[in-house]
């Protein structure tokens, strides 16, 4: 399990820079990042070194922020690695809202952040199927 920080951004020049500046000044490291955008707005998703603090400093800077539960899954860093994980999830009818890559590795594995509909179910399936995922504290320290 891990906490993702989500931020609502208008599609205006300088908004992303502002978020990263606010985090930088608070000494918070960005560990993974993805932006989903439309013509009007974007949703920035972040994995950071200190989610609680990031939430607070962004809120203080008057951004609309929320915390979302996600899972950091270890994926073999080889061709077909992600496919095999996804296939096992699909077999179990685990629906995925979105996913994005983490900027770092765990041993030989790549890391992928998953937002799933049912997080408890995901955990159970991962344990049964031998899919490795990271606990929160390990993830933020990577």
């Amino acid at each position: 399990m891990a906490k993702q920080i989500s931020v609502f951004l208008e599609n205006k020049v300088g908004r992303l820079a502002h978020v990263t500046r606010v985090l930088g000044e608070a000494g918070i490291n960005i560990r993974a990042l993805s932006i989903a955008d439309t013509s009007d707005f974007g949703i920035l998703r972040l994995i950071v070194s200190d989610p609680a603090k990031a939430y607070q400093v962004l809120k203080d800077a008057r951004f609309t922020v929320s915390e979302t539960e996600v899972i950091a899954v270890q994926v073999p860093d080889s061709p077909g690695g992600l496919a095999s994980v996804l296939e096992r999830m699909t077999e179990q009818e685990l629906s995925i809202e979105y996913l994005y890559a983490f900027l770092g590795t765990r041993g030989d594995d790549a890391l992928v952040i998953f937002k799933v509909e049912d997080i408890a179910k995901a955990r159970k399936i991962f344990n049964e199927k031998g899919i490795k995922f990271l606990d929160e504290s390990t993830l933020y320290k990577l």
């Binding site: 208008e10 707005f41 949703i43 609309t64």
Partner: protein, 433 residues
């Protein structure tokens, strides 16, 4: 029930109308004699003061508009010599000349009486601490409320607008019971209170008297819920006297117009015909006690209805419905009249959506387009694009069914829409018509 002046406020209609007629006749003789502009208008219509024999004869008289005040800038409509004028207020005059209004010392006293009635109706007494956050200065709100509060004998904190954090600190430290300001500023104060970590239970605030801009029933619910107070609507305009022309009673079912000082009518804004009681239209007001600046049949541009039945509160003075909008704010888009207040009502009915919005009207090719900017608060924010897009579509659909025209919704970051400390700007019209 609290009345500041029971004899006047609960006067049987029969007597009230006799009083109105006598005062109206006296006013007409006076303007005919002392204000050339009124005499010329009356002569053009062939009306003489003695033609006003009954209250219904009011409809024979000419209308007065804001333009008349501009045309006679600055003191042309005053009915007394300047030696009798003790106060001058003025509108901001963003387009062309400002409008100027004057008061004799008796006018100031009348105004204070009306504001005392209004604040009393909202529960004020000599034991109240009243924080007056209407702007002091040329704008009539600040000084008008101030004099009324002092007349009651309440303790007034003349904070004026602005410096919101300090206002809230004083509100807490001084134990403010009643707040007077614009409704949008009340909501802004609540936002700042949240940022400061101050809860309504930390305050002694019981009621607010809010005016100077139209606000909806939904906005009342929002203010009352967030600040945990009773919110009363007060109506007034500087051309007539300032705030205190009409005030809600605890029934909150229309605003009692001080009919011993003003005669209300509702007209069709297109044909100018007087409409029957209960029909919505433009409010027209005539002053019958003003000395310095008597105003005959002033077209307020505010849309409302009148109800002359006796209120459950015991007051006999006619009630005007909460103003539905100003025809100045009204934008006509593809032939449809759109009021910002309608947008506000829709937004307040969608759970979690804040009533902070901006209407942007533009013309693409030959087609007018309405875009509504809506702030995304934390309570409706989702990390999934799909859900956010669905929210935008839902708001758009509800706006379309309420307004009757296509609306494009743009979701924006909170607090990006201009939140002035006075009146909130709700419409940007980019069309070059």
């Amino acid at each position: 029930m609290n009345y500041w002046d029971k004899e006047k406020e609960c006067m049987p209609r029969e007597y009230l109308e006799k009083l109105q007629l006598r005062r109206l006749q006296e006013t007409i003789y006076r303007v005919y004699a002392f204000v050339p502009a009124y005499r010329e208008k009356m002569e053009a219509l062939g009306v003489k003061p003695e033609d006003i024999r009954r209250l219904e004869d009011l409809k024979l008289l000419p209308f007065t508009t804001k333009q008349d005040l501009r045309d006679n800038y600055p003191f042309g409509l005053f009915a007394v010599p300047m030696s009798e004028v003790v106060r001058i207020h003025s509108s901001s005059g963003t387009t062309g000349k400002p409008t100027v209004v004057g008061y004799t010392s008796k006018d100031i006293d009348t105004w204070a009486e009306l504001m005392a009635r209004s604040l009393y109706s909202a529960g004020a007494s000599r034991y109240s601490v009243i924080q007056n956050s209407y702007g002091y200065g040329l704008f009539t709100g600040g000084l008008g409320a101030h004099y009324g509060a002092e007349k009651i004998g309440a303790s007034v904190i003349p904070t004026s607008g602005g410096n919101t954090k300090r206002q809230i600190m004083l509100m807490q430290d001084f134990g403010t019971n009643i707040l007077t300001c614009t409704p949008s500023y009340a909501l802004f104060m609540h936002e700042v209170m949240q940022e400061m970590g101050i809860k309504p239970s930390d305050l002694k605030l019981k009621a607010g008297v809010f005016g100077a801009e139209p606000w909806s029933e939904n906005m009342r619910r929002e203010i009352e819920g967030k600040l945990e107070i009773d919110a009363y609507d007060i109506y007034g305009l500087s051309e007539i006297i300032g705030p205190g022309v009409a005030i809600e009673c605890p029934r909150k079912n229309g605003l009692h117009i001080a009919e011993d000082h003003f005669i209300p009518e509702i007209i069709d804004p297109e044909t100018c015909e007087v409409l029957p009681e209960g029909t919505p239209g433009e409010l027209v007001l005539t002053t019958v006690t003003k000395e310095a600046l008597p105003i005959i049949r002033y077209r307020t541009r505010d849309l409302s209805t009148l109800n002359r039945s006796v209120c459950e509160c015991g007051r006999t003075h006619a009630r005007m419905a909460k103003v539905l909008g100003r025809s100045d704010d009204m934008v006509i888009i593809r032939g449809v009249n759109v009021f910002p207040s309608m947008v506000e009502s829709v937004l307040l009915n969608i759970p979690g959506v804040e009533p902070h919005y901006l209407l942007v009207v533009d013309r693409r090719g030959n087609l007018d387009e309405l875009e509504v900017y809506v702030e995304v608060s934390e309570s409706v924010f989702s990390d999934e694009v799909r859900k956010m897009e669905r929210l935008g579509l839902q708001i758009g659909k509800e706006l379309e069914s309420a307004l009757g025209i296509a609306v494009r919704v743009r979701l924006v970051e909170p607090k990006t829409l201009e939140r002035s400390e006075g009146k909130a700007k709700r419409v940007i019209d980019k069309r070059n018509i």
